[in-house]
Symmetry: C2
Subunit: 317 residues, 2 copies
DNA sequence: TCAGTCTGGGGGAGCGCTCCCCCAGACCTG
DNA sequence: CAGGTCTGGGGGAGCGCTCCCCCAGACTGA
């Protein structure tokens, strides 16, 4: 019995006699043999592993981020369903960035998926230059670097603001996300455009997509314009923070102030009152991004995708 | 110039002349050379990679799980700080379980960290038998299989119930987590013990640690005992669900019904009213678990750790 | 029956590293 | 100055696989 035959059996090649296959399989199960991954990777020049690269904010800032959980989970699932291993990479500080680059260059992975990179991040450009198949979950500031899957931020934000307008709200403020993130920018622009189209003034406060920043921004907004009667928050987490500030300030929602969020995370169902929000299909987006990468891996090319968003009416607006 | 010298330089061995080191370094940066990971792994018999194995509930059930985000993030960070790569593994269906086993047996990782395994899961036992260094985030149902880090569930739950008792609450119910999870069981037992010690009857509903299950369980509880005036939920997510049901049922919190949660996730700060809860240091627990594994890797042994919990008083009780 | 074709299995090279062994040359000591 | 010691660098084996090449043996058709 030669190792060639064993190799053939294990890799499921058809040109092997059933009898031999039997013998090998028996031996394999009996001995509990498992082929060595490193050796295999070495010779085949592939690893069956995909990196999920998540930009990690400086320590301390992190909360229980629903985006992280949803995206990482959905992506991992899709990847595992396709028989790929997942390597999770947190891209935080500058020196960790170098490590990431080295890691990918060392051939540890067959491809990578970038998640929520901010505009200033040099990583996408660096990775694109390595020639490794890379896709992005969310559109990047620099276009054309790699294919991506995003949701329709502009359409969603427009629907949200339009809804507020349709309700007859007069002073509609917004809590924006960090402007170095593409999604935050698009949502803010759409808000501005909608208000401008109906001859209204923008009232903007800046957050960073966390609950606490939403609460702070709402406080700011209330101070800037005590008369405001509606707020569009660029994500649900900040909307939840805003809800809290409004409660503390004695404003009733939606009677005094209407609130609309963005994302439709599960928590939006459980706020008081339940949050009206724009649903962005995060799980689906992650799965699509994986599909994109898989396409890129097999075909050498893949086309970016924009997923539709939908306004979910609940009680806060 | 021989490859031996290059190898020595790259691996930072001291027995190499500064001059040669210079030359090699120059060549390396100029050519952008990065050593091949697979080849290295093959010969050194180690991968510098640690698996984080998360039990994944059957699709659909998953929501934005703060536990997942916190633990995976904190653990990854600690691992990367120690120079380890992270391999994220979702252990879902039975067949995926086999894949996990194969994967680990193939020598792709140097060690593994189990997260939130339920009691029925055969995976811990299987992994323990492979001889691979493995630790658990959270105590396992089968003791002695591997070292673990857990928080003081019993102490925390006792404090929570005691607080309700001290307030003079008469009918204290609980929403338990899934009983195949060790943490849920300990919290329930502590609740029972505390009530028994003060001669009171237990009122128990079962949830599965999700918001929606908390809302459902609360409905059940209200039906079982309309007179109840306090609820201890085995985690914050279920407490949030309970809050919603209570609001819908027209009960005031904490006036009519007091609510205490467990975990102190960030969302607990933003509920209406803010949630009184038991803080369990999830991030710290994850970091400790990593430290445990690292110890195990270097020393060959490591001792389990129990982290203290603390009651955080807010407005819901 | 024999040349010719086809199929399946064995031998062995080689993937890109690390690490051991050995040797050249510098240095030291009596 | 000769013999011994020590230091640093080069050669080469080998990690455990896959895959190519080739050959033995079965099978076909004239």
């Amino acid at each position: 019995m030669s190792k060639s035959s064993v190799s053939r059996v294990i890799n499921g090649e058809p040109t092997v006699a059933p009898e031999i296959r039997q013998i090998v399989m028996a031996a394999v199960t009996e001995l509990g043999y498992v082929p060595n991954g490193a050796a295999r990777n070495l010779v085949t020049q592939k690893t069956n592993t995909i990196a999920i690269i998540v930009s990690d904010p400086p320590a301390g800032l992190v909360s229980d981020d629903p985006m992280f959980a949803m995206v990482v989970r959905a992506a991992s699932r899709a990847l595992e369903a396709a028989g790929k291993q997942v390597s999770l990479v947190l891209a935080g500080s500058a020196e960790s960035r170098l490590r990431v680059e080295q890691y990918l260059a060392a051939g540890h992975v067959d491809g990578a998926m970038l998640v929520s990179m901010d505009g200033a991040d040099p990583l996408p450009a660096v990775l694109a230059r390595t020639g490794l198949p890379v896709v992005s979950h969310g559109r990047l500031a620099t276009p054309g670097l790699m294919p991506y899957v995003d949701n329709d931020n502009v359409g969603g934000a427009t629907k949200a603001v339009q809804h507020l307008l349709d309700q007859g709200r007069q002073r509609i403020a917004t809590i924006s996300g960090p402007l170095d993130m593409q999604a935050a920018q698009e949502r803010l622009n759409a808000y501005r455009q909608s208000l401008q189209d109906s001859d209204r003034r923008s009232i903007v406060a800046l957050g960073d997509f966390t609950r606490i920043s939403g609460a702070d921004a709402m406080r700011q907004l209330l101070q800037d314009d005590p008369q405001l009667d509606a707020v569009f928050a660029a994500n649900d987490l900040m909307a939840i923070g805003a809800l809290r500030t409004l409660r503390e300030a004695g404003r009733r929602v939606p009677d005094d102030v209407a609130v609309v969020g963005f994302d439709d995370i599960e928590a939006a169902l459980y706020t008081a009152p339940p949050l009206t929000t724009v649903r962005s299909p995060m799980g689906e987006q992650a799965a699509s991004t994986v599909r994109l990468l898989l396409d890129l891996l097999t075909n050498g090319s893949a086309d970016s995708v924009i997923l539709p968003t939908e306004l979910i009416l609940r009680e806060s607006a």
